[in-house]
Symmetry: C2
């Protein structure tokens, strides 16, 4: 074995170890959120802390740094396979990011973030922004220290964005979000002014939970979710977690008085899961065996939930089956049902927002995060700023901070730069759908016949199988032949809602 | 902080880490056996291997050896608390055992044992002892190398016994098993000759699984199993696993045509779980936070399953409730039901054996293990030896090796010295019950009224809370005022079956 081969083997073994730790941690968390007994949680948290700590130690070890340098040497790097090259460059990126933060500072931050999350929960319940303010200030101060240590890019906020959407910048987002905002605000207003508002009353009844569950399982199966490589459980907040490509679990939450909440939640998480179940086998046991970014991951959950699951052909195929599971309860036409599940209406709470106005919630948060890190906004100004933007973009004013600036957990835990992923997901999804319509003949007829597997196959071949082997921008370019283009989402929404609201 | 305090702190942190790894591994295994998707199992096994390897590295690190030596120094050791002293001596024992085996040899053994287990499964299905023989020989050869490395005690087999029942010896077991055998063989014969054989026909019907489950849950609750510190799931082979004292899980398996199989299985695992749920908080996060030996652990499962769960007072209290869950199906008297659940009859298969003859199955295996490691028996002789002993002690001859020497998985995986734990459990259970009857006033009236919590409390105070803080022999002596005494089991069985079979 040559020296380079020996280094590569040790490097790959370390990556495999990190991945095994991730699998163990993934299961420890999954279990906490699905059914771990209450009294074991404190000790469990300590175990999670220990395993995370060992993983962090391994990911930042000087030995790993040496192997990386050896593999990056001119001459050496070029001899690596495409997968190994990407593994080296991705690991380098993570390595540099991690070793730049002194362990002590990071530990202080973890404690501060945990305290801040706890305080946020209390502050939200009591509508007490003032009480939360010092905690949030502390978390922001740590985040600013991290930006200094990592090094600011073109803007300080760019450094944060790059954590979740590698390569994404304020310069690019200002443009796409600007376009989006300029077009969605008037579209939203036109919808609000339409006399053709859908009826949603029939959706609010008592719907048997086991029938909801069996329908959710049926739709997952139709989507091509592999139940031999996953399972569906319940949790307070639905999520998907890929322990390995043969074990990608999802959870949902059944609401008795809402027949589609759990279903759309399941389809959403199912979309995340299809991504992780279909990554090429060559990436198993490497850190490339996951979605390439939060935005691309979100594009898959939203593609399945919104583009497919809230489409007219989908319900033309499946509404009869849903009706038959709730005899006498859904005595409406397919059209009424389809329109009832696609109402657009400005609202206060992001996670309850519709497919269109959701993006305005995100743009507000994006603009505020920029103000925090690059615009000199003070934490004490955030509630007022928030309310102004809601008035401006959505035409409504939160009656309380609990329903305003305090509604999301993200900032309390330091997840700045994450929010844009959600709208990026919507934009990527629409752009992928646009290409799919052109390439996959009769795509909507397939959906109308319940033949969803060719759709899953197309996504697997074009997107899923690559895992982290392609960056988000490489992926979008290679699949759609152009960079991120917000017009696809605008067109998709305009077409859809012009029909529904007869604009 | 003094130097000793600093060493102690680092030592305790390492022990805590080992315990956290154990928790993660415990969950990874629990998940594999209760519901992990099939396609993820290969990668899961690799993750388990990695985490086990890291734990082993930590448990055998030279650094840990240095801390142990420092803490054992004259003067230092005496200043430690009772818990720390025990932690040091237990860790030393494990440490010495582990470091004496070269890692390479151990890895070879793990592979050989896994291959042998696979082959055993096939050989049992095909009744092919000859095909299994070379695999078993290999596992025995590794075991003999381990005995040489660890150092043989008074006998070679003593070294194996000590792994599962610390301090137990052939010299002691020969005596107690000899007494037991001499008294149980004639008792078993007298029972077989009795004209008063219980009826069991009514037990074989189709019993609704959900009703079985709800009754099992009810009985667990009656026993004082804490559902906020555990959960009940299903698996092919029932087991209990203590991840931490606040998370002690059990599994069971429901048989449609047997109304008590799952129930007694649940009570059995519930007994194991009560032990682990009630260990004193001071031992949490240490390796003393578990049962003190396999035999003592088994005494608790068997105490609850047999001594309590198969007693007349228990069914006088609970039979009505069982009847009401299966309307029209259990139309017999309490006496008939009680006797039907306590038949004694020599049989071929250990895990299906009754409370009395079970011990003869164990004594046979004990005698054979002695012959393998100290008596020069060849593997090729085992089937014949097995059949001779079954003829001698149980009066029956296996019609095939599949129902004879191939029935148990233990030897294939190298678990020599484990079998005696089961009968030790029966003996300890009877001896503890004997003391409980004297100390806990009206014990059987409590059972007859369904007041099981005082029984759980007594066991917690006398046994459970100590975890591994007392050795098996210290525990038996302190609880019952005498060493292990097989006469308690003989007396218990004689009294019980003299009544049932009207001897």
């Amino acid at each position: 074995m040559s020296e380079q081969q020996a280094v590569l083997q040790q490097f790959r073994e370390t990556i495999h170890k990190i991945k095994s730790y991730e699998e163990a941690l993934g299961l420890l968390y999954w279990d906490l959120r699905t059914g771990a007994p209450r009294k074991g949680m404190d000790t469990r948290s300590e175990s999670i802390g220990m395993v995370s700590g060992e993983m962090f130690k391994l990911s930042t070890s000087p030995q790993l740094g040496e192997w990386l340098s050896a593999l990056e040497e001119k001459g050496s790097f070029e001899e690596l396979t495409e997968i190994d090259q990407r593994l080296v460059s991705e690991t380098r990126k993570e390595y540099d990011r991690s070793v730049k933060i002194p362990p002590k500072l990071y530990q202080e931050y973890v404690v501060a973030a945990a305290q801040s999350e706890n305080k946020w929960e209390e502050a939200k319940a009591q509508n007490d922004f003032k009480g939360f303010q010092p905690y949030l200030e502390k978390v922001i101060s740590y985040t600013n220290q991290f930006i200094d240590l990592w090094g600011a890019k073109a803007t300080r906020y760019d450094t944060l964005l790059d954590q979740y959407e590698p390569g994404m910048t304020v310069s690019q987002l200002d443009k796409v979000f600007g376009d989006l905002r300029d077009k969605l605000v008037p579209l939203s207003a036109a919808i609000a002014a339409s006399p053709h508002q859908p009826d949603t009353g029939f959706l609010r009844q008592s719907f048997d939970k086991s029938a909801q569950k069996s329908f959710s399982l049926y739709i997952l199966e139709q989507m091509g979710y592999d139940f031999e490589a996953g399972r569906l459980d319940e949790s307070a907040h639905p999520f998907a977690t890929g322990l390995n490509p043969g074990d990608v679990r999802i959870t949902t939450r059944y609401l008795e008085n809402d027949v589609t909440s759990a279903l759309f939640g399941t389809i959403h998480e199912g979309g995340h899961a299809l991504y992780e179940q279909n990554i090429m086998a060559e990436l198993t046991n490497t850190t490339l065996c996951t979605g390439t970014s939060m935005g691309i991951h979100e594009s898959q959950s939203r593609f399945w939930e919104n583009v497919i699951g809230r489409s007219r052909p989908f319900w033309e195929r499946y509404f009869g089956e849903l009706q038959s599971r709730f005899p006498g309860q859904l005595d409406v036409s397919v059209d009424q049902f389809y329109r009832g599940n696609n109402i657009v209406s400005p609202s206060l709470i992001r996670i309850e927002a519709d497919e269109l106005t959701y993006n305005l919630h995100i743009i507000i948060r994006y603009e505020m995060e920029k103000l925090i890190f690059d615009g000199g906004a003070k934490v004490s100004d955030l509630p007022e700023l928030w309310n102004e933007k809601y008035k401006q973009y959505l035409g409504i004013t939160p009656p309380s901070d609990a329903e305003g600036v305090l509604q999301d957990v993200h900032w309390s835990g330091g997840a700045f730069g994450y929010f844009p992923s959600y709208s990026l997901g919507n934009m990527y999804a629409a752009q992928f759908a646009d290409t799919m319509e052109k390439e996959l003949e009769g795509m909507w007829s397939l959906v109308g016949r319940g033949e969803l597997l060719p759709i899953k196959e197309w996504l697997s071949e074009r997107i899923y199988k690559y895992g982290k082997l392609r960056s988000p921008s490489e992926l979008v370019q290679s699949v759609t032949g152009k960079p991120l283009d917000p017009q696809c989402l605008v067109d998709y929404l305009t077409k859809k809602y012009t029909d529904i609201y007869k604009l």
